[in-house]
């Protein structure tokens, strides 16, 4: 065994290194997207329109879906225009999509043959591929709060630092769950394209489901969706930190990765 690193660590490192450039590009694009929206804020807030009255007129289901509480304050504006959309939906779907391509992609391309011809356990592959996406999640949630803070100051507003930190700290478990959904689907589908679309579609369907049932008697069923346990509007506008939700998401992540391990252990590698 000697001085070789643990296989899961070697796989995670190799995967993360391969993603380094793509991760930086995505982080840059999302930063630009955030700054673009922030640049709109001053003209919106000085336009003299009662935006909160406007959004109050939206149907409850719509407000629920996009977490709209108030958008006239900088916190509400950021929550609705950026976090509910980009952070919850866009980044979540993107991560599920990326993760969906991992194991199925390796199997289909024959890369998995070369990995597993080495003394590597199937478990190590699943865990390594999962961990390989963690640096991207961390990078996004470390860089973007800084960008957001600087951007808010730049447009002449102020924002509570701890809420900004919290909205990203609580995003980490949510994003990890999205990755885990993708990894789990990746061990089920035989082709990467299918795995990616199924992972993305499943997450989106859960989000829609949660939004629709939220204003009905079956609201609790919406808890099935990862999106139910991360509420950027609640954090930014109301200062409510859903720590239980984060714990639920971390538990779900663990379960999903464990299921992926169980499934992949028994799988035939035939792409």
């Amino acid at each position: 065994m000697s001085d070789r690193p643990a296989p899961w660590l070697a796989i995670a490192r190799y995967d993360a290194t391969g993603r380094a450039r793509g991760s930086l590009v995505v982080t840059g694009l999302l930063s630009a997207f955030l700054l673009l929206f922030l640049a709109f804020f001053p003209s919106l807030s000085t336009a003299g329109i009662d935006l909160d009255a406007y959004v109050d007129a939206f149907p409850p289901a719509f407000r629920e879906a996009f977490g709209i509480i108030a958008i006239s304050s900088i916190e509400g504006f950021l929550a609705v225009e950026f976090y509910q959309f980009a952070w919850l939906l866009l980044v979540g779907l993107y991560l599920a999509y990326l993760a969906g391509g991992t194991i199925a992609g390796d199997v289909a391309s024959g890369r998995m043959d070369l990995t597993l011809s080495a003394p590597v356990a199937r478990r190590d592959v699943v865990i390594g591929r999962f961990l390989g996406l963690v640096p991207l999640v961390l990078l996004l949630n470390v860089v973007l709060p800084v960008v957001a803070y600087v951007g808010v100051l730049a447009v002449g507003e102020t924002i509570a630092v701890e809420r900004l930190v919290a909205v990203h700290a609580l995003a980490v478990p949510y994003h990890l769950t999205c990755v885990a959904v993708g990894i789990a689907v990746s061990t089920l589908a035989s082709r990467p394209g299918i795995a990616q679309r199924v992972a993305l579609g499943a997450l989106f369907a859960l989000f829609m489901f949660e939004s629709v049932v939220a204003s009905t008697d079956y609201a609790e069923a919406g808890d099935l969706s990862p999106t139910a346990h991360y509420d950027p509007s609640g954090v930014l506008v109301l200062g409510e930190y859903d720590v239980t939700g984060a714990a639920v998401l971390l538990a779900a992540t663990t379960v999903l990765v464990a299921l992926a391990v169980v499934r992949f252990r028994r799988a035939d590698l035939s792409g």
């Binding site: 070789r4 190799y14 890369r111 043959d113 070369l114």
Partner: protein, 321 residues
């Protein structure tokens, strides 16, 4: 203990047969060849041995470890090198990054030697490499941890003749050092040049296992003879003659004794006679058609000699029904 022992190994993909009831053993220090057309089950057999596929029935051991047991399989893979014919490599990484990764997984005591020997430029991105150079990357990965067992699946596809020679030399060196090899190919020459024994796979069945030297001696002689008299084809339709062609010259493969050949020709005025070792391809076909059940298998007994002529050609899958 054998390097590989395969007992009644079968693998079905759903209803589709990959391999069926395959049994053979590769002795320590032996080079064993899988020969068969594409789709005959060579790759399925090798991937089942490596634990990538779980057997439908039967079993196998690699270096004494159960191939179907994850823990034992991993122990075997510690000392095994695998080279696929069309390796899946990350196109957007450099050869160096890929080999670094492989080294982290399996060790790399002789990596530098191999990189030098095959003249691999590690700094290039894999997407920029030619097919042959990509094959070199996989080759280094398969050999760099000095494995005791090598599973080589169509290893020289994509290598130019010079590199094929270098590759063959490398395999021989490793065998001299005590390694055992299972090599698959649809090219008889390649198998014959490297292997001690050959197993013929056809439509998922191992239809014959033969030592290469037996195969050569069984192949008989290629005879070309020109005689003064007119030749009646029936005069040459005797025991020991195969692939008979009667024209201006009479040519055939002779599998009998020399004396009988001389007796046969004594009735003619021989103008020209040429007797050489039959090429192994011919030897193989001769052997293949005479001794093994036809590809449909279940027909039982003998597939009559008359349809023998062309049906045994390796590399022409699916015919002979």
């Amino acid at each position: 203990m054998s390097a590989i022992e395969c007992r009644n190994l079968s693998k079905y993909y759903g209803d589709v047969r990959g391999i069926e009831d395959v049994s053979f053993a590769v002795q320590n220090g032996e080079v064993f060849g899988f020969l068969g057309p594409n789709g005959a089950g060579k790759t399925t057999a090798i991937r089942t041995l490596l634990g990538f596929l779980s057997p439908t029935s039967g079993g196998a051991t690699l270096l004494g470890n159960d191939a179907a047991d994850p823990v034992e399989s991993r122990r075997a893979r510690e000392r095994t090198g695998y080279l696929p014919g069309d390796p899946g490599l990350d196109r957007d990484r450099t050869a160096k990054a890929f080999l670094d990764h492989q080294a982290a997984l399996r060790g790399a005591s002789s990596r530098e030697d191999l990189v030098d020997r095959f003249g691999l430029d590690e700094s290039r991105r894999i997407a920029e490499l030619s097919r042959g150079n990509r094959q070199k990357v996989a080759l280094v990965a398969a050999f760099m941890h000095d494995p005791d067992l090598l599973l080589l699946d169509e290893p020289t596809s994509g290598l130019d003749p010079l590199l094929q020679e270098e590759f063959a030399a490398l395999v021989r060196e490793r065998v001299d050092d005590g390694a055992s090899v299972l090599l698959s190919s649809h090219v008889l020459g390649e198998v014959a040049a490297l292997c001690d024994r050959v197993g013929v796979l056809r439509e998922g069945h191992l239809v014959a296992v033969e030592s290469v030297s037996d195969l050569r001696s069984r192949g008989g002689k290629q005879v070309r003879v020109r005689v003064a008299e007119g030749v009646d084809r029936d005069d040459f339709e005797v025991r020991g003659i195969m692939n008979l062609r009667v024209g201006e010259t009479v040519s055939f493969t002779w599998t009998g004794e020399y004396d009988d050949l001389i007796d046969l020709l004594s009735g003619y005025t021989v103008l020209d006679l040429d007797v050489v070792d039959a090429p192994l391809e011919e030897a193989f076909m001769t052997f293949y058609d005479g001794d093994v059940p036809g590809p449909t298998g279940s027909g039982g007994g003998e597939s009559s000699g008359s349809d023998a002529a062309g049906s045994g050609a390796v590399g022409s899958g699916g015919e002979g029904r």
